[in-house]
């Protein structure tokens, strides 16, 4: 990546947790349908959004992420029936911890994307990248890789 000089040419680094059954397949659909969207994220596939423990999110921030997005199936669609409800519970804890650590709440997100929603996948990514871009580099790294 080219060296960045100011906040203006800041390109956020985003970690995306995608569930195996819906959102990861949604990303696939977006690719197959040749939808254009921001390329700023690294995808980590988890079996369920409920598997994304707050520690994963905190670790991502420690290793230099500017934002972390968790995606899963819509309510009622979860492959494990209540997995995404667990994800919501865990996300509440994550929000509190992220706030305590002095990071902005906008740096984390929880979204539901089904396997068929390729267009929505692209839209969600663009919106999230824009949101993090506005917030600037993570205060923990100040734009530098730790």
């Amino acid at each position: 990546m080219a060296k960045r000089k100011s906040k203006k040419d800041f390109e956020p680094r985003i970690v995306l947790f995608a569930c195996n059954w819906c959102s990861y397949a949604g990303a696939d659909t977006a690719g197959i349908s040749r939808i254009q969207y921001s390329p700023h994220f690294r995808v980590i596939r988890t079996m369920c959004s409920g598997r994304v423990h707050p520690s994963f999110v905190i670790k991502a921030f420690r290793l230099g992420a500017d934002g972390v997005l968790i995606t899963g199936c819509h309510f009622g669609d979860c492959h494990y029936i209540f997995g995404n409800h667990k994800a919501v519970e865990k996300f509440e804890t994550t929000k509190k911890l992220v706030k305590l650590l002095g990071l902005e709440e906008g740096r984390i997100g929880l979204e539901w994307i089904s396997a068929a929603e390729g267009v929505r996948f692209g839209k969600v990514m663009d919106e999230f990248v824009e949101r993090v871009r506005k917030l600037g580099p993570s205060p923990l790294t100040d734009g530098k890789r730790p």
Partner: protein, 383 residues
């Protein structure tokens, strides 16, 4: 590897081992987990099995409660041995299985980052007096984080901090509180993460010195041990005295005594390992409890130096054996006739609260868990 094993053996005085087995006989974990034996662990080190030892998960079973060292006829420092071996294991890339998905260690590692600016908000509440600088500093540690992580089992750790500052105010002290105070590093050190521990130590010493503190008071037994013992040992130059809040309030008991209101009930005191066996503080918390009018203080069968650990340490090794230790200890409190177990360490408070939580099914014991500071502050409010 062999040199490291020799160094660890020497530092922990493991050569003095007589193989009498008193450590295993007294170990609270070995009582339930028959696969774990401190004597075997030690003899494995002495017979040159260091390679296997560092990769063994049993290395993280030890609670470092210090019971074996108290009973050892040759004063072998078994806790020290575990600590040094864990540091060696971490250096070689072995990671323990961490409880709670490793969230607490992650928080502590992120605390070690240079550019951390925490937003602790108004965690101490508006009704207490604090200052930015001062002779006496209150070190709260991770309390607001515990509230966020353990909300589901009804932990109110922030209350311990609020109560501690209220008590300090009551004896006429306005303590300094660091807005960006970091974890003391205890749990990272005992998980073997020496590097991040040193980072945390340097940050904390710098911040405490900058606040002009001559005395540091903690409400956590583990912070107390780490600041007082481990910081100087691992090369930190501390120009301040470290006290546990029970010691400071014990000194000022005359000021506090008149303000304490009556409270009923029967309580017993759980000696935290870090406060009791590690630091030798047994009587100040009991004096404070005795100062509350109307409160009956009972003793469990195992008390003071023989006190049994709360079953888990450094957020590493929580398993069914931990729960058995916890329930066993709480049954002892029940047998002593106490309705409330009072402790002076937030970790003991959290672990016992978890053991009695309804989330774990029908509670097996009928005792309440309370922190010493919270109990004292409640009695302060009763008058």
């Amino acid at each position: 590897m062999i040199e490291n094993a020799a160094r660890i053996t020497k530092q922990a005085k493991a050569f003095y081992c007589l193989e009498c087995g008193k450590c295993t006989a007294n170990c609270p974990v070995s009582r339930f987990n028959h696969d774990y034996s401190p004597r075997m662990m030690l003899s494995r080190l002495l017979t040159g099995e260091m390679d296997e030892l560092v990769a063994d998960e049993k290395l993280y079973t030890c609670l470092a409660c210090g019971m074996c060292r108290v009973r050892c006829p040759s004063d072998v420092r078994y806790g020290e041995l575990m600590l040094l071996t864990r540091i060696e294991a971490h250096r070689l890339g072995h990671e323990p299985n961490l409880s709670h998905g490793g969230i607490l260690q992650e928080i502590m590692r992120i605390h070690a980052a240079d550019k951390l600016h925490q937003d602790r908000g108004d965690w101490l509440g508006g009704d207490v007096q604090t200052a930015a600088e001062g002779e006496l500093l209150y070190f709260g540690g991770c309390l607001p984080y515990f509230d966020a992580v353990f909300e589901d089992i009804g932990v109110e750790a922030g209350r311990i901090g609020r109560s501690a500052v209220r008590l300090l105010n009551a004896v006429g002290i306005t303590p300094a509180v660091l807005p960006n105070e970091r974890c003391c590093g205890h749990d990272l050190l005992w998980a073997g993460d020496h590097k991040n521990f040193i980072e945390l130590m340097n940050h904390n010493i710098e911040a405490i010195t900058a606040a002009g503190a001559k005395r540091v008071v903690t409400s956590c037994a583990e912070c107390y041990r780490t600041l007082a013992l481990d910081y100087p040992r691992f090369g930190g130059k501390i120009g301040f005295e470290v006290l546990h809040i029970s010691q400071l309030l014990g000194e000022r008991l005359a000021d506090l005594e008149g303000q304490l209101g009556a409270a009923g009930g029967k309580v017993t005191f759980q000696d935290p390992c870090r406060l009791g066996r590690h630091m030798g503080v047994y009587e100040p918390p009991r004096q404070l409890l005795g100062a509350i009018p109307g409160l009956e203080v009972l003793e469990m069968r195992h008390n003071r130096q023989a006190s049994i650990c709360c079953g888990t340490s450094a957020w590493i090794n929580c398993d069914m054996y931990s729960k058995q230790i916890q329930i066993g200890r709480l049954r002892e409190a029940e047998q002593a006739g106490a309705g409330t177990v009072v402790t002076a360490c937030p970790k003991c408070y959290i672990h016992f609260t978890c053991a009695t939580s309804e989330k774990r099914g029908e509670p097996q014991v009928d005792v309440k868990i309370q922190d010493l500071c919270v109990l004292l502050a409640e009695s302060l409010g009763a008058k």
